[in-house]
């Protein structure tokens, strides 16, 4: 079943720059997809449209049954609650502890304290940071901070996890640790879309790979075929 479906999507910015044009794409539930391409190919615009940071100029984007283009500003939160997003710069609250950063995502929904505690501990265990719940972001390494960001993104149990260059600031070893965490999450049923520049990761992970160029899909590699064709 498709979780994401893009039909003839076009995005032109107010400056007149067309970032995406005539894009058609489907991503199935439970998939793990890499999106790659040179700088300016439209990768960032594509994922920004998926979590409705940007609106498509034309065409239709459906994520988890929600027509993203038709979503009013006041209702965007309904989409966001189904999606987790992870960024290159982690976007953690510097004055809050690891526990508070993750719990923050649940507290705004008014869950009981016990339930929040159980969920936060469970998710921090999954990303391997249970021992650092009282630390502040500045006391953690880059890889650890990214794992906190991932924990926060998945603590709500989203159907889709969008990762925008999550390993961009990390060394190769730490990057692979993050990839292992993401693979674990994917195995639990969460669909993952990851934008990256790191071809080594793409090759090692052996997942579906979509190559964008000038706002269009240049090539769509089925799972396991990218490494073979690009080695």
């Amino acid at each position: 079943m498709d979780l994401i479906k893009l039909t003839n999507v076009k995005k032109t910015y107010r400056t007149g720059v067309t970032a995406i044009q005539g894009l058609n794409l489907t991503i199935a539930k439970g998939d793990f997809v890499f999106i790659i391409g040179s700088t300016g190919c439209g990768k960032s615009t594509l994922i920004k449209m998926l979590y409705r940071e940007e609106k498509p100029t034309a065409g239709q984007i459906v994520v988890g049954g929600i027509d993203v283009g038709k979503l009013r500003n006041g209702k965007v939160y309904k989409l966001r609650r189904k999606i987790g997003v992870v960024f290159q710069d982690y976007k953690l609250l510097p004055k809050s502890t690891v526990y508070e950063n993750v719990a923050f995502a649940l507290e705004i929904f008014g869950l009981p304290k016990d339930e929040i505690h159980a969920k936060v501990i469970k998710v921090l265990e999954l990303v391997g940071l249970k021992s650092k719940i009282k630390n502040y972001p500045a006391q953690l390494s880059g890889g650890e901070q990214q794992r906190v960001a991932i924990a926060r993104a998945i603590v709500n149990g989203p159907k889709l996890l969008i990762c925008d260059e999550p390993t961009g600031n990390l060394d190769p070893e730490t990057s692979m640790e993050i990839m292992k965490v993401l693979e674990e999450i994917n195995k639990l049923g969460t669909t993952i879309i990851m934008v990256t520049h790191d071809i080594n990761i793409v090759k090692q992970m052996n997942k579906r790979v979509i190559v964008l160029d000038a706002g269009r899909v240049l090539k769509d590699y089925e799972k396991g075929t990218y490494k073979h064709e690009n080695s």
Binding site: Y77, K82, V85, F104, A105, R152
Partner: protein, 299 residues
Amino acid sequence: MKTVRIIGRNIRDAFKGVFRNFSLSFASISCITITLIVVAISMVLSENVNNFTLLVERDVTIVAFIDNEADEDKIEEIKDQISVIDNVDKYEFKSKQAITEEMRDSSDVFDSIMKNWTDEENPIQNTYQVKVIDINKIKNVADEIKKIDGITVVKYGEGMVEQLIATFEFIHKICIGAVVALILVTAFLISNTIKITISSRQREIGIMRLIGASNINIRIPFIIEGLVLGLLGSIIPVIITIYGYTELYNKFGGHLFSNFIKLIKPVPFVYTTSSILVLVGILVGMFGSWRAVKKHLKI
């Protein structure tokens, strides 16, 4: 239950927000404190002037002097004529004997001069003392009374009373204007100060939006934070109002400059004024936050 939990957490987060961003919170609190002190002073001044105007208005009396030739029937006739004049509230007959007694009681000099006067020799006249409903039209009433046959002179402190009341009404209006203007200016000042606080927390708002917080979810903690800032900002003005005014009242013995100008009694005046200050602080803080956070909610 869920709503209670959310509100509870918002209150906790609001206090955390105030203390974690202390330097900016301190700027907002100081801004609220200073303006509320000025608002408090204006309110105290305005209410006292208003109170004094009311006292003066209540005390102003038209004294109509009756011709000493007038007999009892004539005096009755004058009374009937006064009673039908527009804007007359109350009237009272005061005989020359009663006035003489009052004067003799008030001063030893009067007493020694007047004690030997017989009724025929007494030059003091019988009077009607008239109070009016609308003090601004006192002159019309005085003019009407003057026309009545048997009335020789009409006195009410003409000129002085009108001027005094007009001056106090003017001061009262200026004070009210100042209070309103101050509240508006404070609201915008606080709004801007909170805007800086919030701009420094744009990241937090951005993250809240990303993880699916609705506009209300984002706005409420900041509005409660504004409420807390308003509450904290009104502490010093309230203390100054309660202790400062009570001290001032006691020091002057309830009168200002002369026995003529009476100050409003501190209780319950200081408490109502303080409640208004707290309310203004809270509302202004909440409005400031609401306005400041609005900008960051556009997606």
